[in-house]
């Protein structure tokens, strides 16, 4: 069950999404919008802070560490870029937001819910740097 590293399905690239992908590619670190007013982290990128509605923010790196909330294995291929089986995980970042991503390794037998993970940027053949995760312990 190897994750493919060749092509990235179309990304949602709205007005606020570009820096997320650009910064990851440049420095290999995950950066999110952080409210300049109340320091609340924001993901997915958007126009205002969900806590205080302030439109002012900075892109700041996060630790890239988090915990697995849940995981699944696709046994059917819906996207030409991904042939099954492959895994998808939901990771709660230590800073708060939840990201949907993949584990770069084969999920071990049993449950991985609650396991600690770290960011693993993956250089796709199409030039996109994709934020995936690896198990820490």
């Amino acid at each position: 069950m190897m994750l493919q590293n060749s092509a990235t399905p179309a990304r949602v690239l709205g007005l606020y999404d570009e820096p997320f992908w650009k910064r990851l590619k440049q420095d290999g670190r995950l950066s999110l919008q952080c409210c300049r007013h109340c320091s609340t982290w924001r993901y997915p990128p958007g126009p205002v802070c969900q806590s205080c509605l302030s439109p002012d923010y900075d892109w700041k790196p996060v630790s890239g560490h988090g915990e697995i909330l849940s995981w699944i294995v696709f046994h059917r291929s819906y996207l030409p870029e991904y042939s099954s089986p492959y895994n998808v995980v939901a990771v709660r970042l230590d800073e708060g937001p939840t990201m949907i991503s993949n584990l770069v390794e084969e999920p071990p037998p049993g449950s991985v819910i609650g396991r600690r993970v770290a960011l693993q940027p993956v250089e796709m053949d199409d030039g996109v740097t994709l934020p995936r995760f690896r198990l820490l312990d």
Binding site: T8, P9, A10, R11, V12, Y43, P44, Q50, L69, S70, W71, I72, V73, F74, H75, R76, Y78, L79, P80, E81, Y82, P85, Y86, V88, A90, P97, T98, M99, I100, S101, N102, S111, I113, V128, L130, R132
Partner: protein, 385 residues
């Protein structure tokens, strides 16, 4: 008291030939388009109500058709109209009737999703522009609405000890109902063993956890309560309605992954039970919007039919089949009757209360609770005699 309680009643229901059209579409035909399916359902609902078309002065069409065109096709000039999904269209019709904007409202839905190949997963996923979570995670291969529910169910199992085998009771119970429903597309009963032997689609969900995709239409006619009593010998009243939304973190599936949408369902339960003078013991049949089987255990817990984490035990021991403690999706639901995006559940509610469900009739059915917990909102309706 719920202000919308017994303000309006359903006086007519109808649907297109789901079973016949299923066979025709599989044979490569295109029997109808969205409007045609809606029109045939409307014709049947009108006949069921026994009223003349000219009596209708309100119209709501489903989200799959354009309002103006559907009204043109049905040749309805009305004084009030709207476009809404199944559960909201019933609530909006009741609201319009309560405020005097209309007194006989037709609700019409048609969908040719199977014959035109509507995609609910993959690059052209339906609603992608409306619901960001359907498309946002595509770079990681995360698409298909079933996958969202698979992710939620995995965590639910982990936290509460519910098992994949427990979930199988949903598909098994609904096939029991659909096997006795001449309007259902899937008529063959299945066992838990059949369920477990079916392939995973997105693990931990299997084939039988997924809804059908078929063509068809559904229509309902609602009338102001006093008028309904005059027009119909068997009006089915809307007893209570409720709604609550959880939208914080929706794209990352937060409301589902961390709380299984439960706070929204609990808020709705307070609206439909406490305030209406009704309680769970007054409910004879439950109908749950079941794009995926997972909705059923979550609704059982969220609406308080069993304790938190006890839905597995409830389905296993008390039962959700026709002879169970709480018969659920008695017509087969989206999994086995027809995937009409919640619309077919409305007419099953009405038919159970009328007592016209034949072999799948729940004896002495007086009240049915319909709930849907999808796309950013938890909504409920209680129908009663």
């Amino acid at each position: 008291m719920n202000r919308l309680s017994r303000v309006a009643a359903v006086i007519g229901v109808g649907h297109s030939d789901w079973v016949g059209d299923w066979a025709r579409v599989r044979a490569g035909e295109r029997p109808d388009d969205n409007y045609g399916y809606g029109a045939s359902a409307f014709r049947n609902a009108l006949a069921d109500a026994g009223i003349d078309r000219s009596r209708i002065n309100g119209l709501i069409v489903g989200p799959t058709t354009a309002y103006e065109r559907m009204a043109e096709v049905l040749n309805l000039n009305v004084r009030w109209g709207d476009q809404a999904d199944a559960v909201l269209s019933v609530i909006q019709a009741v609201t319009a009737i309560e405020s005097g904007l209309a007194d006989v409202v037709a609700l019409v839905y048609g969908n040719d999703q199977r014959s035109v190949g509507t995609q609910y997963g993959g690059p052209q996923a339906m609603g992608g522009d409306m619901f960001l979570s359907y498309v946002y995670h595509a770079p990681w291969g995360m698409t298909s609405q079933g996958a969202l529910y698979a992710l939620m169910f995995r965590r639910f199992c982990e936290l509460y000890g519910v098992t994949e085998r427990d979930l199988g009771h949903v598909a098994v119970a609904q096939r029991e109902g659909s096997s006795r429903n001449p309007n259902a597309i899937m008529r063959k009963t299945i066992s838990i063993e059949d369920y477990m032997a079916a392939p995973y689609i997105v693990e931990p969900l299997r084939l039988f956890d997924y809804c059908l995709i078929n063509d068809g239409g559904v229509a309902l006619i609602l009338a102001e309560a006093n008028l309904a009593r005059r027009l119909s010998g068997r009006p089915v009243f809307v007893e209570a309605v409720g709604r609550y939304d959880l939208n914080q973190g929706a794209t990352s599936l937060e409301p589902r992954l961390t709380e299984f949408y439960r706070p929204a369902q609990q808020a709705v339960a307070e609206q439909i039970f406490g305030a209406s003078g009704l309680d769970r013991k007054d409910i004879d049949v439950l109908q749950v919007y079941d794009s995926f089987s997972v909705h059923v255990p979550l609704a059982l817990e969220g609406y308080g039919y069993c304790g938190i984490g006890e839905s597995g035990k409830f389905m296993r021991e008390s039962g959700i089949g026709l002879a169970g403690a709480l018969p659920t999706n008695t017509g087969g639901g989206h999994l086995s009757e027809s995937y009409m995006q919640g619309w077919n559940h409305q007419i099953e509610c009405v038919r159970q209360v009328r007592g016209e469900c034949g072999d799948r009739q729940v004896p002495d059915c007086r009240r049915v609770h319909y709930c849907s917990d999808v796309a950013g909102k938890a909504v409920s309706i209680i129908y009663g005699a």
